[in-house]
Amino acid sequence: MPKNVSVQELKSKAKELRLNIVKTANFAGSGHLGGSLSCADILAALYFKYLNVDSKNPDKFDRDRFILSKGHCALAYVPCLAMAGFVPMESLETFNHYESPYGMHPDSKKVRGCDASTGSLGHGLPMGVGMALGLRYQKVTDSKVVVLMGDGEQNEGSVWEAAMAAAHYKLKNLIAIVDRNKLMIDGPTEEVMGINPIDKKYEAFGFKVIVCNGNDMESLDKALAEAWANTEDKPVAIIAQTEKGYGVKRFQGKVPWHYGAMNSDLFKEAVADIEAMD
């Protein structure tokens, strides 16, 4: 059951997460800033309201599962786990450093609270289908399995292999979220390899589809509440319309900020932009 947390509280968590993202990118030297900032609201809403997870007992069996299928956004995920108490806040300072538990992509054997190692795109949804099947077979009927994917990632064929299986097996506890930030490394998704109409595609694959503004906490909260309350015998797909780099004006909607490094001026500017957010 989702916790009773207000939209305003979630917004402030998302803001705090964005600050931790840019700080961690600074510790790391560089990072996947664009995609990390676009999904910050989603992660904040999941970890501070929706996911039934416990930092004191990260392996409890009847917990919800979360898979960061867009693994390159460990830059957002690990700070979020730190804010949720799974890993020490100060450990973020080692991000990307020699023998650190944290690199650009999360390692479930090293990151406490991380349910799956990811990085190669298109792997999250298949693992999520496996988890949902495994939980159902073991009579855990209340746990959700949430998979956060990128929009460029939708190009991977394995996403659709898994989507087909999710609907076939009527995995109603599976929630696939697409961070629709519209940009990938080589340019806009619709120029590199178009995925529109992505909502219709998931619908055709047998999902209940919810479209929301993934950078507007009110809209996102509503979408997640609806997904959590799903009673239909089908998996849920949330198409979260976002902006890449959201929160830092210089990064917003800019292809080159998929991955980058900030000098000290830019870092200060990024912090100021985030602090000025609502």
Partner: protein, 335 residues
């Protein structure tokens, strides 16, 4: 063959009376409810269907989608289950290979990959369905245990044994109608421990999988000609039994490896590395597919072509016996 059945289903059905994979798995499933099966539209062909017939709620057919097959298997394992994932060997090592490496092996999950139709065993299906690359791929993946049983009896033993191996496990078998090498299950089988199945002192054949029986037949034939051949069944490719290899080097100083695989990266290379690292010299030949795509044909014709039958193996043994090696009688005394 009954109308409408493929060679594959025909062969699997023919083997239904024998104790092979699907049957053993069904038997294990009764004792252990953590065991589940995953397949990609090959439940019948890979024999995992036997398990599925018995436990329909425990088998997940993902359709013709091998990437998803191994991703789903990883996810199932993440919930504490022991998934057996079955498909043809070529799809296991290449079509879903990255999922095997990253989802399963990197996370050190107890997924048991039972890859059927390995090597040349699906002969007439053609080169797309042959698989002579899997040993190289699977043994290069950290955490992976790699076993290639010689026949159905060893397969049965390996399936039982792999439950207790905590991490990922890859087993390659043929189509399931290869002649048995053992008469029954009354023999010791330990993962990682090679079996000497024929004693000899002139030369050692180290082999695994389907050619193992052929190597033993070759050794018997050669014995009649006065050539004493040791045959080692190296059913576990990884971790490889270094002691058995070094004992053979010390005792016979001539080693022939025989494998239903490219000579690059497989059993021969694994054995060669052990010998080279030991610093001991010996005459050595790798017999296998010589870095080419295998041709189409009945398996028995292919085994003959690539010298993986008893006749071809015996011929190669004789060639290797004629090979000069640098004499250094002292090395046997070295530590």
């Amino acid at each position: 063959m009954a109308e409408g059945t493929t060679w594959t289903t025909y062969d699997a059905n023919k083997m239904a009376s024998k104790e092979i994979y699907g049957k053993v798995l069904a038997e294990l499933g009764e004792k252990n409810d953590k065991i589940v099966g995953v397949t990609a539209d090959l439940a019948k062909s890979t024999n995992i269907g036997n398990f599925g017939d018995k436990f329909p709620e425990r088998i997940f057919n993902v359709g013709i989608a091998e990437q998803n097959l191994f991703g789903v298997a990883a996810g199932l394992a993440k919930t504490g289950l022991i998934p057996f994932a079955s498909t043809f060997a070529i799809f296991a090592c290449l079509r879903g290979g990255e999922q095997v490496r990253t989802d399963i092996a990197y996370q050190n999950l107890p997924v048991k990959i039972i890859a059927t139709h390995g090597g040349l065993s699906f002969g007439t299906a053609g080169t797309t369905h042959h698989c002579t690359e899997d040993y190289a791929i699977m043994r290069a993946i950290p955490n992976m245990t790699v076993v290639i049983p010689a026949d159905g009896f060893e397969t049965a033993k390996a399936v039982r044994a792999c439950i207790d191996i905590p991490g990922p496990f890859y087993m390659r078998v043929g189509r399931g109608f290869e002649p048995p090498m053992h008469d029954n299950e009354d023999f010791e089988f330990t993962v990682g421990k090679a079996m000497t199945i024929h004693e000899g002192s002139d030369i050692t054949i180290i082999t695994c999988g389907t050619p193992t029986l052929q190597a033993r037949e070759a050794a018997k034939d050669l014995e009649a000609e006065g050539i004493s051949v040791r045959v080692i069944n190296m059913h576990t490719l990884k971790p490889i039994d270094k002691d058995a290899i070094m004992q053979a080097v010390m005792d016979t100083r001539r080693i022939l490896t025989v494998e239903e695989h490219n000579v690059i990266g497989g059993l021969g290379d694994a054995v060669a590395a052990v010998i080279a690292e030991s610093g001991k010299g010996c005459a050595f030949t790798k017999l296998g597919i010589n870095d080419e795509f295998s041709v189409i044909g009945y398996p028995e014709d292919l085994y003959a072509r690539y010298k993986l039958d008893a006749t071809g193996i015996a011929e190669t043994v004789k060639e290797l016996l004629g090979k000069e090696i640098e004499a250094d009688e002292d090395w046997a005394d070295e530590d």
